[in-house]
Amino acid sequence: MDSLALAVALPLLAALLATVWPARATLLGLLGALATAAAALMVITEVWEHGQLSTALGGWDIPLGIALAADGLSAALLAMTALVGLAISLYAAAYFDGRQAMHFWPLWLLLWTALNGLFLAGDLFNLYVTLELLGLSAVALGALGGDRAAVAASLRYLLVSLLGSISYLLGVVLLYTAHGSLDLARVAAALQPGPVAAAAMTLMIGGLTMKAALFPLHFWLPPAHASAPAPVSAALSALVVKAAVYLILRLWLDLFAPLVTTGAAMLLGGLGAAAVIWGSWRALHAERLKLLAAYSTVAQIGYLFLFPPLFQATPPGPGRDDLLAALVLMILTHGFAKSALFLAVGVIQKRSGHDRIAELGGTAQRLPATTFTLGLAGIALIGLPPSGSFTGKWLLLNGAFASGQWGWILVILTGTLMTAAYVFRVLSRAFNLEPTPPGFVTDARTELPALLLAAIAAIGLGLAAAPLWPLLGGGEDGT
């Protein structure tokens, strides 16, 4: 049962080694990435067999000690983090030169530790510490770009992240004051509707929506994700933002499920809808590829927040399991697609020196593999078949029709068309009168990880999504 602890300890160990031997940071980083992916795989197979896992750390049972817990939801996100992390590591090994690599690898592995720690945490205060570790390492990585815009954007991201964390912490303190325990399951058992629970929920979910960049609080994301180096932006957009969304989902399902009023759910849904429209609109008008990708993240996060109102309206049962599986499917697909998009943009930027969409023509023509990755990632972002988000959007629409909430359907359709507009605005640049490139792949070490991620998002998750339902424990307890 130690695989849970290993999934956190291994990346941490690799981070420490990379700090001590900066000269061999890249090698240690790659080995660490492989080891972490293997540990994550172990956890996933165990969850696939036994359903839920939990170990008390330090030999002390809850409530005194801290428990690591893994169920279907955390296993799915752990798997995504492992795969995306592996691809980002391979890409970064070729992307960064000596000096930057020295700084990148320890921080990247710390980020990975925080992610694994967060997905497996079962203790509310431990979640606070992992959130802080995640925030700080993400900010430090974001500032790696070195230019003024990157540092300013990272600073603003840090401030927003701190505000979110402290608000989350106050919520935890209120819960501890009232129920005397920090473990998620115990607090959930003791929680009854009342001012304490409502205040704690508002503080915690409010803080986390700040870190998940939900619509009005998204201003910090585009500059931060657009100015960071490509592998870092990929990690930020695909993994870090998702951790906050995961946490909101975890608190929603496990802790505050009985308390959530339809009003609160509608509010989140409304903000999500606004995010979809606003994010897509800004992405349509972005001049730079990375800004386009960052605004696309804001829009795609909006989609994820369309689920709460539908959750409220569907009674527990197969309908709700479909919705949960659709939500997880969209989180995973966006994770793979967005990281592939940012990695591909990184190749373009490195090769042509800029990522301005207007002058993209030449490079897009000369890099067929990267343009193909952009195409596949675009398909997954729009939600066209056979991508995972197509199935996700299908189930979301199905839920909306079944529960009679027509408003969301309009939002999803406009969002899909606007996403198609800004994706094909980029792809149409790939067809011009430049000379034909000799081969399909120009630089394997950076283009192949991106292509693999895009393929998983656009084809793999679409066709092979069926195991998600039993993994999420559809049917019995519906968590």
């Binding site: 700080l136 430090a140 500032a143 003024r148 600073l155 701190l162 106050l170």
Partner: protein, 92 residues
């Protein structure tokens, strides 16, 4: 009774800090505001752990210690980022 008094003070500190964080522009003031908010939350933890004659509840104390270290490291990083911004173009 003392729990409510000191806990209430903690919440007031949090609120004042939040107000200052949202209102004031310069980074230094935002960081002070953040630290005051943090201290407020930690103060609530210390307040609820006080049990009069008995030894206080050690778990919140450990949380506060961890919190202080986390707050300081975040402040250090924020100031380092700001310093890097100043060095970029010295006349600000």
């Amino acid at each position: 009774m003392t729990e409510l008094l000191f806990g209430g003070a903690g919440i007031l500190l949090f609120a004042m800090g939040l107000w200052s964080f949202l209102v004031h522009e310069p980074l230094l003031r935002k960081l002070i505001a953040f630290n005051v908010m943090g201290s407020g939350v930690f103060h609530i933890l210390v307040a609820i752990s006080e049990r009069g004659a008995l030894r206080p509840d050690p778990v919140p104390h450990a949380l506060v210690l961890t919190g202080i270290v986390v707050a300081v490291s975040a402040t250090a990083l924020a100031l380092a980022l700001d310093r890097r911004l100043d060095d970029e173009d010295p006349d600000g």
